[in-house]
Amino acid sequence: MTMSLDGAVADPERFAVIFDAHYQEIRRYVGRRLDLDIAEDLAAETFLVAFRRRDSFDAARGGIRPWLYGIATNLIGRHRRAELRRYRALSRSGPPAADDGHDQRVVDRVTAGVTVQKLSAALAGLSPGERDVVLLVAYGELTYDEVAEALGVAYGTVASRLSRARTKLRDALGVEV
């Protein structure tokens, strides 16, 4: 699958394949970090940027997902204050009315003592670099190698940021994350 997508990157006609395969997950990643109105725009912008830079994509340096997540994370970085505002608002508000089957899992976690409010406050306490690493792993399910590719940092940097973030989250939440 990766090979066929790699081939599609440079080809404008086939770039649609990349969009179809990854738009939803990129939109979801951005939308969980920023309010939906900004997120819709940034998800679109991610693919506009990717399309413009398709010639510079190098399959030898990594996969398409880290590349797209990297672009999205970079765009999110321009809205740091909006992201923090969102966490602060969430930390003050009641949990959103859950829909689908998600509510049961939310309830389980809440009984373990971790609520949206607490978690939002804890995420607001991370440095931007720590938050990027944690959320790329949590939402994007990227490996450490992929996170390093996405952010353009060394593997060791990813590992040390994760370690610091884990300590901060544990201190804030009272449980291992």
Binding site: F15, F19, R27, L119, S120
Partner: protein, 327 residues
């Protein structure tokens, strides 16, 4: 358990993307990023602060049932001639007086989401832009009103258990599309040329050499911005119509209807799946709407059908006024 699964599970999720929007993004990407998409801080503040309520008139009619005139009689003028005459009348109008330029419009979005594929939801929000003679801008954004589009949609919505039309996660807000092409610094816009050739040359001075946009895509984006979001003069606006009409990928069609049921002559651009339409009043040359319509796969640029409008900026008022925004 995967790493940080707790974060994934506890933090709020978002509703799935609606297909029409995704298709529009996809088309824009493949078309070369012709418009920039963003919601500036100002309008977000306005969104939170403004309490402009929106009175809805009932009885929406599906747009596909309207429109489509012309062709029945031999006396019907060519669409290009209709547009030309409308542009002439617009260009002859004085720029207007007053301290503030006001553009009041309704942003209408029609979605059929993956969660609820059986009915279409229409969301409407009033957006007012004020610009004064010094170029200072103010925006007012109303509350979004959402409802099933037609009686059939309403029935399907009830059959689905009358789910909430706005999710808490999106609060029913609509993203605002801005058409400002990057690097466009055509200020002051009130001083722009009224001659099409001169205006096109002035605009193209700002065409970014590094962009992937074709000149035509870029001119469409820039012109849309100048028509919808800038205090351009009637003469400049008429010239913009003529510039777009002369582009090879543009089609002019008569009998195109906006979501208010107003029929006009339209500049159309773009191939399947989405086509941009600029709808213009035949008599006055006033801008009626900028709308995006879905065209069926395989639809040709020469199709006479309007397509199904899924996103529209319906212009209610536009021009200089003695009124002023509330401070």
């Amino acid at each position: 358990m995967k790493e940080f699964q707790l974060i994934d599970e506890v933090m709020p999720d978002l509703p799935p993307a609606d297909q029409a929007r995704a298709m529009a993004v996809r088309a824009r990407m493949l078309g070369g990023a012709r418009r920039r998409h963003r919601l500036p801080a100002l309008s977000r503040v306005a969104l939170a602060a403004a309490a402009v309520s929106l009175v809805l008139v009932g009885g929406f009619v599906a747009v596909s049932m309207l429109g489509g005139s012309g062709g029945e009689t031999a006396a019907v003028p060519e669409p290009a001639a209709v547009l030309g005459a409308a542009a002439d009348r617009l260009a002859a109008r004085p720029p207007g007086t007053g301290a503030w330029w006001r553009r009041e419009m309704l942003h209408v979005s029609r979605d059929r989401t993956k969660d609820h594929p059986t009915f279409t939801v229409e969301r409407r929000v009033k957006e007012v832009l004020w610009v004064n003679r010094e170029g200072r801008q103010r925006t007012e954004t109303g509350d979004v009103v959402a409802r099933p589009l037609t009686a059939a949609d309403e029935q399907a919505w009830k059959d689905a258990g009358s789910p909430k039309l706005c999710k808490p996660s999106d609060d029913c807000r609509l993203g605002r599309t801005f058409f400002t092409p990057l690097g466009l610094t055509l200020k002051p816009v009130a001083g722009l040329p009224t001659d099409p050739e001169a205006l096109k040359a002035e605009m193209l001075r700002h065409f970014p050499a590094s962009g992937v946009d074709s000149q035509e895509e870029w001119l469409w984006g820039a012109a849309t911005w100048l028509l919808l979001d800038a205090e351009s003069t009637p003469g400049t606006r008429a010239a913009l119509y003529r510039i777009l009409a002369d582009l090879p990928g543009t089609r002019v069609a008569d009998g195109v209807t906006d979501l208010d049921g107003r029929t006009g002559v339209a500049l159309m651009h773009g191939a399947s799946p989405a086509r941009r339409q600029i709808v213009i009043d035949r008599d006055s040359g006033d801008l009626l709407a900028v709308q995006d319509a879905l065209i069926p796969a395989g639809g040709q640029a020469s199709d006479s059908g309007n397509g199904e409008v899924f996103d529209s900026y319906v212009v209610k008022r536009l021009g200089w006024t003695d009124e002023a925004p509330q401070e």
